[in-house]
Amino acid sequence: MVQNFAFLDEHSKKEIRRKTLKAIAVPGYQVPFASRELPIARGWGTGGLQLTLSLIGRDDIIKVIDQGSDESVNAVNIRKLIQDTTGVPETIDMNEATLVQSRHRIPEVPLRPSQILVLQVPMPEPLRAVEPSERVTKALHGDKEYSGAWIKMFEQIMKYGHVTDDADYPVLVNGRYVMAPSPIPRFDNPKMNDNEGLILLGAGREKKIYAVPPHTHVASLAFDDHPFEIEDFSDKVCRESGVSGVFMDELIDPDTGENYYVTNDTSYMLEQLNKEEEHVN
């Protein structure tokens, strides 16, 4: 049997594209779709992968990242599946990529017009922690009744003095739908607001697609007297590249026992290092 381009049959791709269009038309709204089986386990990015496979064309250049890294096992596996079934070229360079699939990060380089970022989503429902029933959460979205998302934050403030959600911090999209941005750090939330590219989010196990189209207003939920804050790396410097002002991983030097910081988005870090080198040469 001949393998179809991008693995999925054309019918499935069409279904996913249709649902994607609907998601773009209603920013932040979770559109149910008929999730397919893929040769990787559900929960390992099958939602994002189905979006990528339904969108990819022969002219695309693909970049796949997992928690900021192009080289993690997950990223490599997903990229291999995409390349084996499409033959499209890969890149780690945000400036070259036309289609980017990512888990748990929005790259440091801003998206440009016509670029698509696909985010893998484990848990698409921002109200699930307070409301187990899908039927009920659907009605709550319909009525724009988001007390559930707010009381979760309120309870954290009561217990710890501040909101403790560091990742998957809920946002209000286009003034209408509260959305789970997937487990990206709070640091990445502001990047969604009024951005130039198209952000698509896919949850394979939960069978949901949703979207943040270009130039959409995206606001992180916050009480009037407890403003939203991102992780502060302003006084941290990346040990590898010397950059600051980006999201960093805190590591411990096994020899000295001291903490140090390294840029989490590795391709961004490489780009900075290359620039420096060019400068020197």
Binding site: A139, D143, E145, S147, W150, I151
Partner: protein, 279 residues
């Protein structure tokens, strides 16, 4: 609604569980209790009408299964009515049947114009969230986004219902039944609703605890002037709290009037039994 001291009007409200048949949809006189012998449909509430006046406590008494909770749930939009009208002075001056408004509007009415205290605290509280957060839930749903204002309001109402403020960050799951009902009452009142609905709120509590909660309800009514509907299977409780009373049997009002008069001179045979049982 006619006279302007009426804060709520219920007109010909019915609730059936089941489709009904040709016989019972038109005429419920052939029911066996509240069940249609022909099709098995339960007629939980049948053609009930009443007004609630400003600042009064209206009692609804009846045995288990008589339709009290179903009626309360319809008033709080927990359950859809089968037929009938519902008017609130606080909503469009009582000009619109609020059973017909959008579900978004119904939520608004629930959050801002009504308070509900359920028999089972699990229905009224998020038992694993702190008491303060439970109160804030009602305020947040009513549109508040200021933590400082909400905790100040929470403190005030927790004090009003005699919950020590040292326990405000504790979850009600750690509390006694009486305390859980107090937290429910604080939550229900937190938005200053003109109407409070109380469904068997002391059922299952120890007698001394029961007396404290009833005293609290009276005190709140005096202080805040909120209109209340109190539902109980226990006429003794109704006697303690309520100015006027309706007696429910098999989903129908069989008798209504001034509580003292009903107690002195019950008309219906069933009411007579109820009255004699508490004398």
């Amino acid at each position: 609604m006619s006279t302007n001291d009426i804060v709520m009007s219920i007109r010909d409200v019915s609730k059936r569980f089941g489709e009904g048949c040709e016989v019972c949809r038109e005429d419920t006189s052939t029911l066996n209790g509240n069940i249609c012998p022909n099709c098995g449909t339960v007629h939980a509430v049948r053609d009930i009408s009443f007004d609630l006046h400003e600042g009064e406590i209206l009692g609804i008494v009846g045995e288990s299964g008589s339709g009290k909770s179903t009626l309360m749930k319809m008033m709080y939009f927990d359950q859809e009515n089968t037929s009938g009208d519902y008017y609130l002075r606080s909503y469009e001056e009582g000009a619109e049947n609020v059973f017909d408004v959008s579900s978004q509007k119904k939520r608004e009415i629930r959050n801002e114009q009504l308070g509900m205290v359920y028999q089972n605290p699990l229905h009224g509280l998020k038992i694993n969230f702190s008491s303060m957060t439970n109160i804030a839930e009602k305020l947040i749903a009513g549109g508040s986004r200021n933590v400082g204002e909400m905790t100040a309001r929470g403190d005030m109402f927790l004090e009003k219902v005699n919950i020590p403020l040292s326990r405000k960050f504790e979850a009600p799951k750690n509390f006694s039944g009486g305390m859980q009902q107090r937290v429910q009452i604080a939550k229900a009142l937190s938005n200053y609703p003109p109407i409070l609905l109380l469904d068997e709120v002391t059922t299952g509590l120890d007698l001394s605890v029961q007396a404290d909660v009833l005293e609290l309800i009276k005190e709140i009514q005096r202080e805040m002037g909120v209109s209340m509907i109190v539902v109980s299977h226990d006429l003794a409780i109704i006697r303690m709290l309520c100015d006027r009373t309706m007696v429910l049997l098999n989903g129908e009002v069989i008798e209504s009037g001034i509580t003292d008069q009903i107690l002195e001179d019950p008309q219906h045979e069933y009411t007579q039994q109820l009255v004699y049982s508490i004398l």
